[in-house]
């Protein structure tokens, strides 16, 4: 093969074949291309298509395999296409570990979120997807409850920020804290002085900073956050954010208004009007703050 190189740069001969395929007459060139290697016996040229076929097969296998893996990863945990998985969830379990809720206590669609302030997916969900459900919260269809699921092995400030949420809830400003903390996630995630930064965000969100700092710089709510994590483990939560809608784990977290609508309509159709109130006894803010802490709110 090597000796035949001399012909390779002749455009008429090389175009349309890798090199030394039978030269085809080309109208614009007029004169037939020279054949310097004509006398050299050479193997018959291979059909072009077959030489590329193995390549396309390999490429296709890699593409399909990769797409399959990515598809399985989507939604976390590599679950099958089934979107809802029943979980064992008793009102007693929820009463034992109150989350932080918004919406009517007796709303027919009870949505629980297990999340970690330091998880990027939770940030995405909190800032772009969860606001879309607000209209159903406002009209009494949905009650949305936050449960901490701090991934302590990988997130150094996960527990701190989770406790901060409980501290903000003392001032009835959990959702303001929630938004500010997620919005600044990139700043505090790996910071060593995250507590100070959280105080600043809290003050910016209208919280009483002194009360917030006093709560944060203690071990207050350590137990509640730990219990919330354990509840998540008991319910089969493997990653964050995980949503549980009326006792069913949502495998694909909604990201558009249409997703939410489909999810909520499926529940309002199937759920009886007299849906059990999971934590109705605890009032609008299930983590009942001490009255003294309430008075500290501005």
């Amino acid at each position: 093969m090597r000796k035949e190189r001399s012909g390779r740069r002749l455009p008429a001969a090389s175009r349309g074949g890798y090199c030394c395929a039978i030269p085809r007459p080309r109208a614009p060139d007029g004169a037939p291309p020279p054949h310097p290697e004509e006398s050299v016996p050479r193997p018959a040229p291979q059909p072009r298509r077959s030489s590329l076929l193995p390549f396309y097969v390999i490429l296709g296998v890699v593409a399909l395999g990769g797409a399959f893996v990515l598809f399985r990863q989507q939604g976390g945990g590599g679950k099958a296409a089934n979107t809802l998985t029943p979980v064992t969830l008793t009102p007693a379990q929820l009463q034992s570990v109150p989350g932080i809720s918004k919406g009517r206590a007796d709303a027919p669609v009870q949505i629980l979120e297990f999340a970690d302030f330091q998880c990027p997916g939770c940030r995405q969900f909190a800032l772009f997807s969860e606001p879309l459900v607000q209209e159903w919260i406002d009209n009494g269809t949905v009650r949305f409850t936050w449960y901490e699921f701090p991934l302590t092995q990988i997130h150094k400030n996960a527990v701190l920020t989770a406790r901060g949420g409980r501290c903000a809830n003392e001032q009835n400003k959990f959702w303001e804290y929630h938004e500010a903390t997620f919005a600044h996630q990139a700043e505090w995630s790996e910071a060593d002085d995250a507590a100070k930064m959280l105080g600043e965000y809290a003050a910016g969100a209208g919280l009483d900073r002194a009360a917030f700092d006093a709560c944060l710089l203690s071990d207050k709510y350590q137990k509640e956050v730990s219990d919330s994590y354990q509840l998540g483990v008991n319910l089969g939560v493997e990653g964050t954010p995980t949503l549980i809608v009326n006792n069913k784990r949502v495998e694909r977290t909604p990201s558009t208004r249409a997703d939410w609508q489909a999810l909520i309509e499926a529940e309002t159709r199937s759920a009886p009007v007299t849906a059990p109130s999971l934590d109705g006894a605890s009032g609008p803010v299930p983590v009942a703050p001490a009255p003294a802490a309430d008075s500290a709110a501005p």
């Binding site: 890798y18 976390g76 990139a186 964050t240």
Partner: protein, 156 residues
């Protein structure tokens, strides 16, 4: 692979379908999948990131996972998709000898190598954490760059 090895490879491959291009296409496809995975994570479509080695979350959650306001993984998707497209064109007999194919593969992968080197420097010196997917991507783009060299010589 040294430059002389690459030159030798170029001569060996000259009269055949360009195997280096095929290799580049396969590597770029793998890179595209890796970058897509990291992008899906950034989009919040994955719960947790799979990471057997290193601490992907630390790297992915750091401020350095953004470049000019976009997650670096998005640039990876764009770059690998472009390399894949050019490499696929480059294995077609019609374009195999075209100079722009070789130059485009060289140019794209050179930018990719430099960007990867910057990201790897950040992992080593600034974030002090490694992300296995980022390291895999750095290896892939380096291989693609080396494989683009023989074609460059051939196209001259």
């Amino acid at each position: 692979m040294s430059v002389s090895d690459a030159a030798g490879l170029a001569e060996t491959l000259e009269d055949r379908p360009p195997a280096t291009r095929m290799a580049i296409a396969v590597l770029a496809l793998v890179g595209l999948l890796v970058a897509s995975y990291l992008s899906m994570y950034k989009l919040g479509m994955l719960g947790v990131i799979q990471c057997q080695i290193g601490s992907c979350e630390t790297v992915q959650a750091s401020a350095y996972s953004y470049f000019l306001g976009l997650p670096v993984a998005y640039y990876g998707v764009g770059a690998y998709a472009a390399i894949l497209a050019v490499a696929l064109a480059g294995v077609q007999p019609r374009f195999a000898r075209e100079r722009w194919v070789a130059l485009a593969l060289f140019g794209l992968s050179l930018v990719g190598v430099l960007f990867s080197a910057y990201l790897t420097y950040l992992e080593a010196a600034v974030i002090h954490a490694w992300c296995q997917w980022c390291v895999i991507s750095a290896v892939l783009i380096t291989l693609i760059f080396l494989l683009s060299l023989p074609g460059l010589r051939q196209a001259r």
